[in-house]
């Protein structure tokens, strides 16, 4: 709801601002990966304030957007959950060559809704004290693929295979774990840092874990509890999330401005606060 609210607020801001910026105020039609919709709403506010341009945002699965773009969907910018899709779109002439870049690096966590269930070394994986572990479909979701790599790196593929439940996306993996039907699962750090200082094994995780800026305000109404293990990046292939300018937006100054803004310091600060690497 807050996303809709802030978008509405952003468009009101534009309505007011448009009298001042009438000459160059434009609109960008953006397709954004569901896991980045929250940060984009936040970034969109800053973008609109800075440039006067407004965003028309559709959020969903990157794979679906790929199919829709091939079928002529009028998106001007794709903010994807992987780096493969933008590359494919460029190769197929649907996106502008050289416009793709990595705006965020996804961080994988092994998360349980039960406090204290997941330790800060991920030893729970080998302990086997669970009947279901959720991963997003590894064929389509980079976080799902990364989760399987972690299981493999720990030499647990055979032991865990019968306990694996596959969600269609990390959003669904999150639901499986949140509802307790899967005791734990691999999701994105950005999904679980909503409720104040996150804890692993009763202790706050150090290092790259944002606390103050990653607080409740970003995910109102989304109570996140439990425990998680921030998986070391060495255990899985880097999850690069790339953005790209699509052919439909090639001549739209506002679309180019959005991509430039994604690389700016204020946008990168939001991205870090949401639990991504930059």
């Amino acid at each position: 709801m807050s996303l809709a609210l802030s978008l509405r607020r952003a468009s009101i801001g534009i309505a007011l601002g448009s009298t001042l910026l009438a000459a160059q105020a434009g609109e960008v039609t953006v397709a954004v990966a569901a896991n980045f919709a929250g940060p984009l709403a936040k970034i969109g506010e800053g973008f609109t304030a800075a440039t006067g341009h407004t965003l028309k945002v559709s959020s969903g699965a990157t794979g679906k957007f790929y199919t829709q773009i091939q079928a002529g969907a009028p998106f001007e910018v794709l903010i994807a959950a992987d780096d493969e899709t933008p590359k494919k779109l460029i190769a197929e002439g649907q996106a502008v060559g050289g416009s793709n870049f990595t705006y965020a690096i996804g961080k994988l966590v092994l998360w349980s809704a039960t406090p204290g269930f997941v330790d800060d070394q991920g030893a729970v994986l080998a302990g086997g004290k669970f009947t279901h572990i959720a991963v997003a479909n590894p064929k389509i979701a980079p976080y799902g693929q990364a989760g399987l790599e972690v299981i493999k790196a720990r030499g647990l593929s055979d032991a865990i295979a019968p306990k694996l439940v596959t969600a269609e996306s990390i959003a669904q993996a999150y639901q499986f774990v949140l509802s307790g039907n899967a005791e734990l699962g691999f999701v994105a750090l950005s999904q679980v840092i909503g409720a104040g200082p996150p804890q692993a094994n009763g202790r706050p995780l150090g290092g790259s874990t944002p606390t103050a800026s990653g607080g409740q305000t970003f995910f109102p109404g989304k109570p996140v509890t439990g425990s998680y293990w921030l998986v070391p990046a060495s255990l899985y292939g880097e999850i690069r999330q790339d953005a790209v300018l699509l052919k439909a937006g090639e001549k739209n100054e506002a679309a180019k401005a959005l991509l430039a803004y994604l690389k700016s310091a204020p946008a990168q600060a939001v991205i870090l606060a949401y639990g991504y690497g930059a």
Partner: protein
């Protein structure tokens, strides 16, 4: 067809078969009651039975996931009974499908029972047929076309079910990955050839089922009409 595809087809047939059987067993008394009752609560219960038509399957699936989960009422009941938790199991899919396909079985049965003439039952009663005898010897044969329609619709609707299964299934091969989910997974992974194959199998299946329905049902209905006359 790969082994995984065959496993999805087999699983789908098993799920639809089990669901239809259970719905005929539990749906028949519900439909009979709805058809015969003069209770003022009838519209309420008819509405409850029709509810799955209204709710989007993914929404229904989400609430089933919560209900059947460790904190949910159903989940706590099944755990107390020693059955364990239902999501991600074949049994869980059957329970969800029974709920989801309920109106497709109960409503044709209800209509068939409503069409059973009261005087046929009264005539049987004057011949000293008890209530059970009247039901099995008079009402059931007269309602046969309704049972055919109910079975076919219940079976076909369960085969075509997607959202609910997606939400509570977990796409486990051989356990919960039914045809519709397998097709979805193929499409999402851009494995269009595999998706086309399974989808074609589904279209052929649906055609066969529906043609059979209309073939079987028409003469049966004429018979029933003649019998009533």
């Amino acid at each position: 067809m790969t082994e995984a595809d065959w496993s999805a087809i087999r699983l789908t047939a098993e799920l639809a078969g089990a669901t239809t059987l259970l719905l005929l067993i539990f749906g028949t008394p519900i439909a009979w009651w709805l058809a015969r009752t003069r209770s003022s609560l009838k519209p309420v219960w008819a509405a409850v039975v029709a509810m799955p038509l209204v709710l989007p399957p993914s929404v229904l699936g989400f609430y089933l996931l919560l209900l059947m989960g460790p904190q949910g009422m159903v989940g706590q009941l099944t755990q107390a009974l020693g059955i364990g938790r239902l999501p991600f199991t074949f049994g869980g899919l059957v329970v969800a499908s029974v709920l989801y396909s309920m109106p497709f079985v109960v409503q044709p049965l209800q209509q068939a029972f409503e069409a059973v003439p009261e005087r046929a039952l009264e005539a049987a009663a004057t011949l000293r047929a008890g209530p059970w005898d009247r039901f099995f010897s008079v009402a059931l044969p007269l309602a046969r076309p309704g049972f055919v329609t109910a079975s076919v619709l219940g079976f076909a609707h369960t085969v075509g079910e997607f959202g609910v299964v997606l939400m509570i299934g977990g796409s486990i091969p051989g356990k919960t990955r039914v045809m519709s989910v397998a097709i979805y997974d193929h499409v999402e992974a851009a494995e269009y050839a595999d998706a086309h194959r399974l989808a074609a199998a589904m279209v052929v299946f649906a055609l066969v089922v529906l043609v059979t329905l209309y073939r079987v049902n028409r003469p049966a209905r004429d018979e029933a009409g003649a019998a009533a006359r």
